[in-house]
Amino acid sequence: MEPLDVELEAGELELPADPMHLNLGPSHPAMHGTVRIVLELSGETIVRSDVQIGYLHRGFEKMCERGTWTQVFPYVDRLNYISPMLNNVGYALAVEKLCGLVVPERCQWYRMALGELARLSDHLTCNGAMAMELGAFTPFLWFVKAREMIWDILEEETGARLTHSFGRIGGMASPPTQDFKGLCRAALPPILELVEEGERMLLKNRIFIDRLENVGAISGPDAVGLGWTGPCLRATGVAYDIRKVHPYLKYDEVDFDVPVGTKGDTLDRFLVRLGEIRQSKRILEQVLDRMPDTGPVNCDDPAVVLPDKLDVYTTIEATIQHFKLIMEGAKIPKGEVYSYTEGGNGELGYYLVSDGSGTPYRVRIRPPCFQITGGLSKILEGRMLSDIVPTFGSLNMIGGECDH
């Protein structure tokens, strides 16, 4: 058969030259649920992209103004919902900073342990989901199996698998269970085994590496100017980890490294998260060795901490204290504070304004992935359509946090 265009000469056929608009809509399997990217494509290449967030805006900051300081904990859990303990701990630290409270040592170790478990869960989910979106379904299932082991521990400790609401101002909701250390120590080796299996399967795969390497690269100064923090920033080479630079709780007494990348591309972000999983395990082992087995978990301060239930039922002072704390809320001193911790995605900050009453005047969360997603359109420029999937997956945009 003769070819169809045998009579045409090159350049005679008019092809449309306007860029095509494509909508990667809010309900899309690779958009982590709730991001819409409006793309201007020229062939497969992205000319411009408009990242639209806000499809999960739930009015968290407005809701916090309508409760007490302790009633903010459930809302805060649902921000970065893959690592809720980190959010809880961060908020509790912020309120305690404003009050000038320091929790007892046992509580500090306990918060670190639960926080690192949550961070493990966060990184496992992020890497697993990114692998799944590229077609590697099996490592996702292995990482989710590892995550289930972590959630079993958290369920035993806090009562809930996912959104624990376990932190309290001045301590935790209840002390660690007897089996806590045993459970953690028993769970860590299988988790690391699963991570290693997943790594072996993914990192030797030429196609996986090709899809991630040199895709979505950003330089260190650019990332800093955009406000990036956390694993995405460390992948560019800037070693800014709040646990090392401005240690809080007992992070200055444990020994760990900060994995840092070089090129700031998607592969580096993937590898940095895998490195952080190992460092979290290291921190967790040290914390479990050093956490005291006896001692109080909550502060002594009667103005913010609920009294023991036995006292509430038998003495009148405890009943009044309990009543006042529940009905009116803990009276936090007037003023404002900005407190920051290392969340799963980076610097998780809380800016609190108090008017001296039991209701917060303003609770502002500084979501790390808001800034990171703000840089998405910059790193997608000039890439191809199919590069969006691994790039967006590696940024670990959590809708609850980004849209707060």
Binding site: G59, E61, K62, L98, G225, E336, Y361, R362, R364, K378
Partner: protein
């Protein structure tokens, strides 16, 4: 730790820095809204200060005070490792004149933060490349985080189904009346004075 920053600011800008404090260790400077951009540029470019990471930008509403809306910016320096909080007050009681310069040209990360402050609090940023709503939909009217916006006032994009259409009761329990429920959830509490 960053008393140096506050001192340098006061030295350079004098009366434009209206007040400073370091409550609980956070260094804060209240700046005149007209010199917002100049102060930001100084903080970015001065080699001893070098604030290169834009941490946060938000608006806090004090409706009983004029000017009403306080724009709060947090900055961090990755090289010097110090932080600062800058505040500026804009807008009268109806949010007239709630405008301030945009610092997107200094830190690109402020782009989305300023859009969010516009969306939630209603402050306009002069010189912003693309000032539109980011968290709410374009058809939304009003700015939700202002204290005068009632939290339960919804503006649905899709009209709710009626019970005839659904064939079953859709509202099973009546919402709380004005005198019911916990006391702190009812009306916005009285606002604090200037800090």
């Amino acid at each position: 730790m960053s008393q140096l920053v506050l001192d340098k600011l006061k030295e350079r800008f004098g009366t434009a820095i209206l007040e400073t404090h370091s409550q609980v260790g956070d260094d804060t400077a209240l700046v005149d809204a007209a010199s917002w951009k100049a102060v930001s540029l100084f903080l970015r470019q001065d080699p001893a200060l070098d604030f290169d990471l834009p941490v946060d930008l938000c608006g806090v509403d004090y409706p009983t005070r004029v000017p009403r809306m306080e724009v709060v910016m947090h900055l961090y320096s990755t090289s010097r490792r110090h932080r600062i909080r800058l505040k500026a007050r804009v807008g009268d009681e109806d949010m007239e004149g709630a405008e301030i310069d945009s610092v997107t040209s200094i830190w690109p990360g402020m782009d989305w933060l300023e859009r969010e402050v516009y969306d939630m609090s209603g402050v306009r940023f002069r010189g912003h490349p693309d000032l539109r709503r980011i968290l709410m939909y374009p058809e939304f009217e009003g700015h939700p985080l202002q204290r005068t916006y009632a939290a339960e006032r919804t503006q649905p994009l899709v009209p709710y189904r009626t019970e005839e259409e659904a064939g079953m009761p859709l509202r099973k329990i009546e919402p709380f009346g004005p005198e019911e429920g916990m006391p702190f959830g009812r009306v916005p509490p009285p606002h604090p004075e200037d800090n």
